[in-house]
Symmetry: C2
Subunit: 339 residues, 2 copies
DNA sequence: CTGAAAGCGCTTACAG
DNA sequence: CTGAAAGCGCTTACAG
């Protein structure tokens, strides 16, 4: 089949061991021999077989990436490609490859993680999400396989290397911005409550109300399920309340766009009647009319740093777990107005 | 380290070869022995080492995915995650893993393709794009490595397995829809002209004009560079023409959204003054005001079928190249109006 | 400075 | 029905 180290050895009239050492640029090999061997490799078009090399080296130079099972909207969401781009740059820089999970259900994904680990397919894993009571996280903790997480683990966070935004803090900032504009009835369109990021943001929401002396009212919370089942109805209900909200915070710009559509149907004007803020600062948000106020959570950096953390653990077995907080900031645009 | 086939063999008091055969469920092994070995594997927590297995099997059960170097907008675009989802489902079904390119420049990507092939890291490759005079495509053609392409190759298409929409046809359909509505001056916001898909759509545009007896006017064509450099100016120029367009076809919904933003700045109403159509039928397009008319190109199917084609070639060395045309359809919505 | 040998963890003809 | 041996393509102590 392909040219092996043996073929090169024979042609160059040295032993396979010597060829291997030339590839590794071992200093104990004479320059003369190196020249000869390299020339032969060149001539024969030799290329090392990574599988064989990895088998003896007991490593793969590959990172496994585990993504949550893909609901349609999650996939339309630019989070995934952007975080992947960040990971990609870091991995490529350190000459690591990327291996992707393909499972659709939690069960399948779990099996893949086990296969990646036990089957020695990857040197470490990046978990692209953090959810409450996640079997996969538990498995990783016990496995001894290096891993890092995008998002704060719900339990045992100190023992894990992860990147995250200050979700409580940024949400409080968003809220105090709205309160500062004179809003008191603020609706909150939350992400899935099994995700820690959603819990943190809800916590920020509640703490902020508390500090502003506004009573929490569960009627202003719209959960993910209601939104997905019938978004139009969920938004409609908000505005049938005796005291409808004057501002809406959504967990994602795309959701904000959708909400804006429903508001137009209801003849509710943005920002005159209702202010609205999204998260993730989608590329289009600045082009909307009015431009959408949004929180930039620096998705690229989240990916980039998650990969860095993982590579740190892979390189140094006993590196202590580290946590990185990636900055986030509110971008004020026309979709919010004082009252 | 980990449990190997030898450990199992020793414990079960059989030879490693027998354990291997039990794993492969070889019918020549007695049920009794199988029971005993399986029990031991279970007890010891044995898991096969894929690297070792792949080395002897001379295959990897892994598919390499090559994406074009990621300009920011390309990554915001839902095309990538959606096509990946399609690939993912097919690959997972056949128990293949996904290995992703990480290179940023064409040079880096080329090197990765060579490494994937020569280093025996993948059994085949899916090229997620087709561009004119692409070195990577040339390399793949000569390599003998199974591959498939999303998009019609610019040359030697018959020799390649690929999936594509009928881009000429669907664009003609879009155009005749607009012409049927009474439009004669139709602008065309094109994708990058190094991509075959863009060439095909432009061809459809021109052919349609021709058939409708409308003279082609290059002033109505906005190319990718102008759009990226200063989209607002590019659109502004269209409407400074003595005869400004009454309809705009854009190569992507996100670009359409952007254009709509500029039109609002120019006090040009959609659809009253100008009709607009996008491609890719983004999840949000139906929520826009007015809802955006768009072409659904079935991105998921493109990915799914590209993976199927590749797996066909991997499984059967001498499978003839096959081409699959994935359907596409115009979804009429409020952003277009007769005149 | 270089080579022969053993081994990474598996599979698969070849024997019996 | 099962085992001993060779081999996938590489690396790395151990000798010399």
């Amino acid at each position: 089949m392909a040219i092996t180290i043996k073929d090169v050895a024979k042609q160059a009239e040295v032993s396979p061991a010597t060829v291997s050492r030339v590839i590794a640029d071992n200093p104990r090999i004479s320059e003369k021999t190196k020249q000869k061997v390299r020339e032969t490799m060149e001539r024969l078009g030799y290329y090392p077989n990574f599988q064989a090399r990895n088998l003896v080296a007991q490593k793969t130079r590959t990172i496994g990436i585990i993504m949550a099972n893909s609901t349609t909207l999650a996939f339309q969401n630019p989070f995934f490609p952007e975080v992947l781009r960040g990971i990609s740059v870091s991995a490529h820089h350190s000459q690591y490859g990327l291996y992707l999970s393909t499972g659709a259900t939690e069960e399948e994904i779990y099996d893949e993680v086990v296969a990646m680990h036990q089957g020695k397919q990857v040197d470490g894993i990046i978990l692209l999400y953090s959810r409450v009571g996640d079997r996969i996280m538990d498995y990783l903790m016990e496995s001894g396989l290096p891993f890092s997480v995008v998002g704060r683990p719900h339990t045992n966070a100190d023992a894990v290397s992860y990147v995250d935004n200050d979700n409580v803090g940024i949400t409080k900032h968003v809220m105090s911005y709205l309160v500062g504009l004179g809003h008191k009835r603020i609706a909150f369109i939350a992400g899935g409550m099994d995700f820690v990021v959603s819990l943190d943001r809800l916590k920020g929401y509640e703490e902020s109300l508390d500090e502003s002396g506004i009573t929490f009212d569960a009627q202003y919370i719209v959960n993910q399920d209601d939104m997905q089942k019938d978004g139009k109805q969920a938004i409609g209900r908000l505005f049938e309340l005796a005291e409808p909200p004057t501002a809406i915070v959504t967990h994602d710009d795309l959701v904000a766009y959708e909400v804006i559509g429903y508001l137009e149907d209801l003849q509710i004007r943005v920002p005159e009647d209702v202010s609205i803020i999204g998260f993730n600062n989608h590329a289009l948000s600045k082009h909307l009319k009015p431009p959408l106020c949004s929180v930039d959570i620096c998705i690229y950096e989240l990916g980039f740093e998650a990969a860095n953390l993982l590579l740190e653990k892979i390189t140094d077995e006993k590196a202590a777990p580290r946590q990185i907080t990636v900055s986030s900031r509110l971008i004020e645009r026309g979709s919010c107005q004082g009252r």
